[in-house]
């Protein structure tokens, strides 16, 4: 009874918050956006915009104020959309015992330690592969320091661009941590160390006006790997053969959400126009690969491929709900990235976004099946 009352109160508070937010936007924020372009917005609003949207200093020279009013409406619309999703999730948890049970089962399942160990080794190897040439970029970037424009994390922490010796030290620390993690020596300590250093080194690499998404999925995996190693350590201490795999599930969800939000962005930013052949044609001509230029002359194929890419990106999340789809969705994913490389000249034959697919594989199953086959 008490639980029901608390839920009803939370629900009412949530709805009131959404209504308040909507009124706040229409009566106050929209006006402040216009005033910002006249240099008359309130100080707190200007400071927040400067912190969250450093690019506005550039973009407000390129576009008229109405463009940003439109963008602010988009923010408002998206905020409502996410609030409704949260509300639906809350209602699902409260009213559906089946939903609750499935959620509980999903987050409390266990995996063999041998699988976690294999995942740790592959993560460490992939980490080494991804950062191996960073030190050369940092060496070159010493000359480009004048263009340093810190990304959000570094800006919030007020960190300036460090001397090359410090970057070199951090790089060595990352390499040593990855090697120790691969050898499963103090996995918790070294996964934590590698993850932190990786995130900061990448931040410095991208603090030169252009942030791309090459390592995005690996970055999210890095946030959760220390938790997986923590579970591994606890299981080893208790001499158990299995451990809770919720951090691994978290990594799988992150990878799937990266695709899902890529698809969602296309729907929200582009809408129906995104499926028009002109959109893909534009991008193909912009990147000008020989295959891409050929494809840009095939409007029907452009529309089909545009639709297909959104279906794939939104549908990737199905892998979370249906484990059996792993062997269908992952190869499609690899072909998807190869297609992007071939037609748009982005990425390469080996792409970090599909290298992280190993998180979806149950390595213990694979090895036991291989052993069975070899016995036969």
């Amino acid at each position: 009874m008490k639980k029901n009352r608390a839920f009803t109160l939370t629900l009412i508070a949530g709805l009131l918050l959404i209504i308040f937010f909507n009124m706040f936007y229409f009566l106050y924020i929209q006006r402040q956006v216009r005033l910002f372009f006249e240099g008359k917005a309130e100080l707190w609003f200007t400071l927040i915009l400067d912190l969250f949207y450093p690019r506005l200093a550039v973009e407000k020279q390129r576009f008229p104020v109405d463009f940003f009013i439109q963008k602010s409406r988009e923010v408002f619309f998206r905020a409502n959309f996410v609030s409704l999703i949260l509300l639906a999730f809350g209602l699902g948890c409260h009213f559906s015992s089946l939903f609750r049970e499935k959620l509980r089962h999903y987050t409390t399942s266990r995996t063999p330690l041998s699988n976690v160990k294999m995942i740790c080794k592959l993560y460490a190897l992939l980490g080494l592969y991804l950062i191996y040439d960073w030190i050369f970029y940092f060496y070159q970037l010493q000359k480009g320091q004048f263009a340093y424009a810190p990304v959000f994390l570094l800006k919030v922490l007020h960190l300036s661009y460090p001397p090359y010796t410090l970057l070199f030290f951090l790089y060595c620390l990352a390499v040593i941590s990855a090697i120790f993690l691969f050898l499963l020596i103090r996995p918790l300590l070294f996964s934590l160390c590698f993850s932190l250093v990786f995130v900061f080194l990448q931040a410095y690499l991208y603090s030169f006006h252009k942030l791309d998404h090459t390592y995005a999925t690996f970055t999210y995996a890095s946030f959760l790997m220390p938790f997986l190693c923590w579970n591994l350590r606890n299981a080893l201490k208790k001499k158990e053969n299995y451990t809770e795999d919720w951090p691994l599930k978290g990594i799988q969800i992150c990878i799937a959400l990266a695709y899902f939000f890529s698809g969602l962005e296309k729907i929200f930013s582009g809408g129906i126009a995104w499926f028009h052949p002109d959109t893909l044609t534009y991008y193909l001509q912009l990147h000008s690969s020989s295959w891409g230029l050929w494809l840009s002359g095939q409007p029907v194929l452009c529309s089909i491929l545009a639709g297909w890419s959104v279906v794939f990106e939104l549908g990737f999340i199905w892998i979370i709900f249906q484990r059996k789809t792993v062997f269908l969705i992952l190869p499609i994913g690899i072909f998807f990235h190869w297609g992007v490389f071939l037609f748009l000249d982005i990425g390469g034959w080996i792409h970090p976004w599909f290298l992280v697919y190993f998180f979806y594989i149950n390595w213990t199953d694979i090895f036991s099946k291989l052993q069975q086959k070899s016995h036969l």
Binding site: F52, Y53, R55, A57, V58, E59, Q61, R62, K71, E74, V75, R78, A79, V82, T107, Y137, Y139, Q140, L141, Q142, K143, G144, F146, A147, V151, F152, L153, V199, A203, F208, H209, K210, L211, D212, H213, A216, T219, Y220, F223, F227, W246, P247, G250, C254, L257, F261, S262, E265, F268, S269, G270, G271, A273, W274, H276, T279, T281, Y282, Y283, L286
Partner: protein, 133 residues
């Protein structure tokens, strides 16, 4: 709140916040690559820097010599152009290059292409180094 719940809630917000605010908040990414429809992109801008030597011959500047890839360098030039900081950028580039090249001047070029009208506008900015430099 249990650690597990906190982690899953954080994951949700790591993805939801950049999506809602249409911005990257590194280490949280917005996945908006190729999301804009073509209709909004009828203008195509190109930015480049040329080195002009004493014989007035000009060569395209290779951004990898200061650690940038081509795309990154173009972004940096675009940002500097719109913030009217091109002269400062050219001065910094000159400081980096003067020992390896014979430079009479640095030339910044912005080409604006209107794709639907097949028109092209070009903007030049020159940087003449001081004798003291």
């Amino acid at each position: 709140m249990k650690l597990k719940q906190m982690v899953f809630t954080s994951i949700f917000f790591l993805f939801a916040l950049p999506f809602v605010f249409i911005n990257n908040f590194y280490p949280s990414f917005r996945f908006g690559m190729f999301a804009e429809p073509a209709g909004k992109k009828t203008l195509k801008e190109e930015f480049s820097v040329y080195i002009v030597n004493a014989q007035n011959q000009q060569t395209s500047f290779d951004p990898s010599s200061v650690g940038f890839d081509k795309g990154q360098f173009a972004y940096m030039l675009r940002d500097s152009f719109y913030q009217q900081k091109i002269q400062q950028v050219l001065r910094q580039l000159y400081q980096n290059l003067k020992n390896n090249y014979q430079i009479k001047q640095l030339k910044f070029v912005r080409i604006l292409k209107r794709t639907e009208q097949m028109q092209t506008d070009t903007t030049h900015t020159l940087y003449w180094p001081d004798e003291k430099e």
